[in-house]
């Protein structure tokens, strides 16, 4: 099997793991990204990591020359190519290890926001997943190009205000529903894909550890609250992430060797999308008689996606055979 069994640990175990990202970075108060990065890198344990980062909030806030917030090796080259860059690092690692020039077991992580993952970086991610590099690709999804001032992306929810899907007399924010990037990653038939949220840190760290332990590519899509772009309170970020998960808008699930598993199943939905939409200024204009249909439609889409996910869990349960997993692995 390309994946390994990983136990979800108690917070006490995780808190003792080394911190790969130091304080003093300049990400905003309430930003989900540094929380997510710390949790994901806890999944790498004591291993040295090479981080390949797309242009974006994390990059501009953690590497302001001559300072760096990274305790590991880090490379940023451009916006769309973090996954391609880490592909090259992996090739170098294989070659230099064979020659005895490198001996450590490096973990390799590619990091991009939703702009660098859903949109401009999608091709590089798809290529890297298909080539089956032994890497982890992380998307911190805050639902727009926040770094450059809140422009819409393929991850922006329908109806959301952004500066390129503004609210006007004839347009109520973004016209289209989001793209489902997690399902696109799953379609690459890689060992491990998971969706997570920083409010459930045990679940996220476990998933990161599972992703790093997998032999071959793994993809993590993590919901990342953004007070600036969401027009929400800094202190609400983690609670908002939780509400989005509880409404089934952002289900916590994993797909291991093609088998779906829902990690948080509220059985009966614990809230509606309207609950957290109301707390985010980017949706303010939707709570009017003429625009309410967008909230209703988003709820319908959410319920449909959730039912579909449950059906996938049921349908794939019997397919997790060792043979099927091995057949997917590349030749040596």
């Amino acid at each position: 099997m390309a994946t390994q069994e990983i136990k979800k640990q108690s917070p006490k175990v995780y808190i003792d793991r080394p911190d790969h990202l130091s304080g003093g970075h300049r990400l905003c108060a309430g930003c989900g990204a540094p929380v997510i990065l710390r949790q994901v890198l806890m999944g790498a344990g004591d291993s040295p990591v090479v981080i390949s980062n797309a242009t974006g909030c994390v990059e501009v806030s953690t590497t302001i020359y001559p300072y760096t917030a990274w305790k590991d090796s880090y490379i940023h080259s451009a916006f769309e190519n973090a996954a391609a860059t880490i592909s090259g690092v992996e090739a170098a690692l294989i070659s230099l290890k064979k020659q005895g020039k490198v001996t450590e077991d490096f973990k390799l992580l590619s990091v991009a926001g939703d702009g660098g993952s859903y949109d401009i970086g999608l091709q590089a991610i798809s290529g890297a997943l298909e080539r089956y590099h032994d890497i982890v690709i992380l998307c911190y999804d805050n639902g727009a190009y926040m770094n450059t001032g809140f422009q819409r992306s393929a991850a922006t929810p329908k109806g959301a205000w952004t500066t390129t899907s503004p609210v006007g007399k004839v347009r109520p924010g973004k016209n289209q529903q989001r793209k489902n990037l997690t399902e696109i990653a799953i379609a690459h038939n890689i060992p491990y894909v998971a969706q997570a949220s920083p409010h459930n840190f045990r679940d996220l760290i476990y998933k990161a550890e599972k992703a790093f332990a997998a032999k071959g590519p793994a993809f993590l899509n993590v919901l990342s609250p953004c007070p600036r772009g969401w027009r929400s309170k800094e202190s609400d970020s983690i609670q908002l992430a939780e509400a989005m998960v509880k409404s089934n808008y952002w289900p916590l699930f994993e797909v291991e060797n093609g088998v779906y598993k829902i990690n948080y199943d509220p059985k009966k939905r614990k809230g509606a999308v309207a609950d957290w939409m109301k707390q985010q200024g980017r949706f303010r204009h939707l709570f009017t008689p003429e625009n309410e249909w967008i909230v209703e439609e988003t709820q319908e889409m959410t319920d449909y996606q959730w039912e579909r996910l449950k059906a996938m869990e049921e349908a794939t349960a019997r397919f997790g055979t060792q043979e099927a997993a091995e057949a997917q692995e590349p030749a040596e």
């Binding site: 001559p66 860059t85 592909s87 690092v89």
Partner: protein, 399 residues
């Protein structure tokens, strides 16, 4: 010391370069196929399939990812190569600038092909000229032997501590890439000995000394100085390239210089040209010399860094110089090579008459008669005819 008896191979330009890649056997190759570079990638794939090389071969999904993977690989400390052409090079260009700014000694073969549009698969130099300001060393090669030799020589140049810049080698698509010519190869041992061990520079895969590469320069402002440092490295490369050429001469008896002079001693009319057209031009020079016309030829090899002083020196006593460009720069005073030569003359206070000839765009043939016409025009100018300021298009329809 010339080599003792070496078997001469009959091989295409691409075959010669892929053989050099096999003998170099870098740590990593990341490449994407494109006409007319394709068989470089195909041949290398076969070496990998046969177990002839140890290199990790990353079969990327685009040229942008090829160069990005090269950046990751070279940044990680691995000796890294790639190859491309035309639109593929254009797609790479964004990250080519990044590679140069990170001072990563990536070696790339760029088989010259016209840029779209209209789409055209044949040779001109518009692709590599697009990247003339990208911070890469650029070496132009006349034939398969030169391209092979240049590939081997690339490593000590690009990896030299005073240079540490990426390097691209050019040769003409189809005319050289696909045509069979003679090649005197080195042995794999000679190649390994010549290139030596890859240098040790700060790298990602050093767990004890982690490094942040490609940081954000938005607030503290060292971008300007970083660019100056790149230019200093370019300047340093002039000597390093010639030293490497000299060392290669000791090994092979094949002499290389930044610019290759042919019958220049008392030349009055001179053509400057790059790549395969130089071979045609030499035959024309011989013919004109037999008629008593004092014709000479300068073949460009090193385009970045541009050896300004050497051009000024070589052209010091020349009456008229014709610069032949296989790429145009729309709206500029002339083609890219013309502007460099003109600037070199001006910087050294010389004012030989210079005329720009644009030829061979999109693979348009350049026949001996076309080059002879160029020399005849230069001869007429030397004898008093006005030198045109505008470009002269060679063998273009309706001109």
């Amino acid at each position: 010391m010339a080599q003792t008896e070496v078997k001469t191979l009959a091989i295409t330009g691409n075959g010669a370069v892929s053989l050099a890649m096999k003998q170099v056997d870098p740590d990593v190759v990341a490449a994407y196929p494109i006409t007319p570079q394709t068989d470089v990638v195909q041949n290398f794939s076969q070496y990998v399939a046969n177990g002839d090389v140890k290199a990790e071969f990353v079969t990327v999904e685009s040229e942008h990812s090829a160069m990005s993977a090269c950046i990751g690989s070279a940044g990680a400390g691995a000796r890294t190569m790639t190859a491309t052409s035309s639109a593929g090079y254009a797609l790479m260009v964004e990250v080519c600038f990044v590679a140069a700014s990170m001072r990563l000694p990536i070696i790339m073969t760029t088989v010259n092909r016209a840029l779209s549009g209209p789409i055209n698969i044949h040779c001109d130099h518009s692709d590599s000229m697009l990247g003339r300001d990208s911070g890469w060393l650029q070496i132009y090669n006349e034939d398969g032997q030169e391209a092979y030799d240049a590939t081997v020589m690339s490593f000590p140049i690009a990896e030299h501590k005073d240079v540490r810049l990426p390097l691209m080698n050019m040769y003409d698509g189809f005319i050289i890439s696909g045509a069979i010519g003679p090649l005197k190869p080195l042995s794999a041992e000679q190649v390994q000995q010549f290139i030596g061990q890859a240098p040790d520079y700060p790298k990602l895969l050093d767990a004890k000394n982690p490094v942040t590469m490609g940081p954000f320069d938005g607030l503290h402002g060292w971008y300007f100085e970083q660019k100056i440092a790149q230019n200093i490295a370019m300047e340093n490369a002039l000597d390093v390239i010639q030293d490497t050429y000299d060392r290669f001469y000791e090994l092979t008896g094949r002499r290389y210089e930044h610019l290759m002079k042919y019958r220049m001693d008392d030349a009055e009319i001179v053509v400057v040209v790059a790549n395969s057209a130089a071979g045609t031009a030499r035959a024309v020079v011989d013919k004109l010399r037999n008629e008593g016309i004092k014709a000479g030829l300068i073949k460009l090899r090193t385009f970045r860094p541009f050896p300004v002083k050497l051009y000024a020196e070589a052209l010091a006593d020349v009456k008229v110089v014709g610069v032949m460009d296989r790429a145009d720069s729309f709206g500029a005073p002339g083609g890219p090579l013309y502007m460099e030569v003109l600037t070199s003359l001006y910087q050294e206070g010389q004012c030989a008459k210079a005329v720009n000839f644009i030829y061979g765009l999109g693979g348009r043939d350049v026949f001996p008669q076309n080059i002879e016409d160029v020399y005849r025009r230069l001869d007429a100018i030397a004898k008093g005819e006005d030198a045109p300021r505008e470009r002269i298009y060679v063998n273009a329809k309706g001109m």
